[in-house]
Amino acid sequence: MERKLRILIAKPGLDGHDRGAKVIARALRDAGMEVIYTGLRQTPEQIVNAALQEDVDAIGVSILSGAHMTLLPKIVNLAREKGLDDVLIFCGGIIPDEDIPKLKAAGVAEVFTPGTSTEETIRFLQEHVRPRIPR
């Protein structure tokens, strides 16, 4: 039997607005995934370490503060440095259209902007993420 998808929902930066992170965590759980939520104000290092320890298949990053261009590339690079090449990284939050191609070029698989339904995110993960062989 395939194991359940394991997803880390992460909240980097100083922003405390966690409504989106918590709603998506709950929706992914209700869709049968295992979800680990990091809690607030995690550094990129803490997020990548949590991803390693929890052996997750994907990392979802929630950012509303405008610091996405600083924080997301850091998380992607650190994850790759630590050998998490097959861990998909996606993000949600207030991201201006013109930053989306830049984030994708930096290695972010998908960017979900305000108004996205949880179903859309769930479908994306089901289509693009496979349970990894446990390390």
Partner: protein, 555 residues
């Protein structure tokens, strides 16, 4: 036979003879009609819904207990609400320019938005500030920045609201120091400090210290202002953020007023006389989409607070009974899709706040789901308020919706529901205990998730998001924050640290540390620190050494 019995019979006859055939011919469009808070709403409201209605007891006259109809006898005929647009971005110079622009366009008061590092008590050059400096508001790390922020703005003439919580004492001390330098009399300056830490633990989550020392910092401000800055609103007890985090209207009302009770109790426990500080308490509510539910919320808030202050706390001064509030239209209702539609949403929400009797209002800008507002978007938002005031006629009479069966029923239900929440929270041992147990946080999370599910089932419609969708590209011109702000702030702080008298900085910080460890009022000590140009980060770190920091329990 009572009048209501007669009416009930009449209503039954109507249901039988008129309603039933209509429903047969044309069924209603939904099985259930609900507010945005998912509260069911009946088809029709009649006197049967408010059978015990007593005009003098429930409403009274405006400017009189229980203030359901407002705190001013003349409503908006004497004085309009204060039009106050929240603003702040980039450096102190950038925001100073925006302030001067807003004042030149007829805005009455200032309202400062600080960036995330400032809100968290961190200097712009702290490692975790990277990428956040000047993004969500203006960066203020020292008195030097504050002097720049209010350069050329006479603080005795404008009123200033400052959205700052965990480090409120420090930012307030900087403001007082600037006022002093300008030669303004502290007894004459006025404004509002948000200073509401409880809603941070519940909803917005920008905290530094644990709840109990945070409450002490707040009561220190109450005590300091009652003596030295008597016209200052020492706290703005806020439901706005609770609502934005996904609560219902009732939860917003109940948790906010229960937080108010906690502040009053804690100040009285610290030895203050209720009537010495209660008249300077103020409130801040959200004005959301559901028009009548919002109006009822504002009216109920005033009635509940008056009862709480008089009956629960024994306040004697009428000003202690009056709930004065600011309102802001609901940011979470704005859509990134078809953003010009937001102008319409904001107008409806603003009208609800005004019909609810708000004393001050911020209208959101159409581009705020995408970025901080541009000057053009802010101007439309301000003009929206001016159009309601000048053109709609709603200001001609006081509380025009009073006596509506529907509005009075909703107002009664809001009051009843809030007192039920108070009982539950009292039984838990008060709001701090409830927060530590995660009660309000869980209630809000649950409501947020229910609303999201209702959206996805299309039981609730957001125009342009889950209905009336079109393919489009963002075409709104957005405000860009110059990346050089962060670098310039770092350079400015480095220069400040070199040129100030560092011995004096250490002396004042040590004195603060000792005072905080004891029972001294922290405000005068913090004032000494900021006048010596100790930075926000240095002062907050000193207090962290004494108070520790807060870690959120996981729910």
């Amino acid at each position: 036979m009572k009048v209501t019995d007669k009416l009930e019979e009449a209503e039954k006859r109507w249901e039988e003879n008129v309603l039933k055939p209509t429903l047969k011919r044309m069924p209603e469009r939904y099985e259930r009609f609900t507010t945005v808070s998912l509260t069911p709403i009946k088809r029709l409201y009649t006197p049967n819904d408010i059978p015990d209605f007593d005009y003098e007891r429930d409403l009274g006259f405006p400017g009189q207990y229980p203030y359901t109809r407002g705190i001013h006898a003349t409503g908006y005929r004497g004085k309009l609400w204060t039009m106050r647009q929240f603003a702040g971005f980039g450096s102190a110079e950038d925001t100073n320019k925006r302030f001067k622009y807003l004042l030149s366009q007829g805005q009455d008061g200032l309202s400062v938005a600080f960036d995330l590092p400032t809100l968290m008590g961190l200097d712009s050059d702290h490692p975790t500030s990277e990428g956040e400096v000047g993004k969500c508001g203006v960066a203020i790390s020292s008195l030097e920045d504050m002097e720049q922020l209010f350069e050329g703005i006479p603080l005795e003439k404008v009123t200033t609201s400052m959205t700052i919580n965990a480090p409120a004492s420090v930012i307030f001390a900087m403001y007082l120091a600037v006022a002093e330098k300008q030669g303004a009399d502290w007894k004459k300056i006025s404004g509002t400090l948000q200073n509401d830490i409880l809603k941070e633990y519940i909803a917005q989550k920008e905290w530094i210290y644990p709840p109990r020392p945070s409450m002490r910092l707040i009561t220190d401000i109450f005590a300091f202002c009652s003596k030295h800055v008597p016209r200052w609103n020492t706290i703005s007890i806020s439901g706005y953020h609770i609502r934005e985090a996904g609560s219902t209207a009732l939860q917003e009302l109940a948790f906010t007023l229960r937080n108010g009770i906690e502040y009053v109790q804690s100040a009285m426990d610290a030895g203050l006389e209720v009537d010495d500080f209660a008249p300077r308490l103020s409130f801040f509510f959200n004005s959301h989409n559901d028009f009548f539910e919002e109006i009822a919320k504002f009216r109920a808030a005033r009635r509940i607070w008056a009862k709480v202050m008089r009956e629960r706390f024994g306040a004697k001064n009428e000003r202690s009974w009056m709930l004065r509030c600011h309102a802001q239209t609901a940011g979470c209702t704005l859509t990134a899709q078809q953003p010009y539609n937001n102008v319409v949403r904001v107008a409806i929400q603003a009208l609800a706040a005004i019909l609810g009797g708000t004393n001050s209002l911020h209208t959101n800008s159409l581009d705020e789901t995408l970025a901080l507002p541009s000057e053009h978007a802010v101007l439309i938002a301000l003009r929206t308020q001016q159009i309601i005031a000048a053109e709609s006629g709603v200001i001609n009479t006081v509380d025009p919706l009073a006596g509506s069966y529907f509005v009075e029923k909703l107002t009664n239900d809001m009051e009843k529901g809030a007192f039920e929440y108070f009982d539950r929270i009292d039984a838990m041992g008060g709001m701090i205990a409830a927060i530590e147990a995660g009660f309000p946080q869980r209630e809000i999370q649950e409501a947020a998730y229910e609303f999201q599910k209702a959206l996805e089932r299309k039981e609730k419609i957001m125009v342009g998001v889950n209905e009336y969708v079109i393919e489009e590209e963002q075409k709104v011109p957005l405000l860009q924050i110059d990346e050089s702000v962060e670098r310039l702030q770092r350079e400015r702080l480095a220069a400040l640290r070199r040129k100030r008298n560092n011995e004096k900085v250490h002396q004042t910080l040590d004195a603060l540390k000792q005072g905080a460890a004891g029972t001294a009022n922290t405000m005068p000590l913090i004032l000494d620190c900021v006048k010596a140009y100790a930075t926000l980060g240095e002062i907050c770190d000193t207090l962290k050494e004494v108070f520790g920091t807060y870690e959120e329990p996981m729910f």
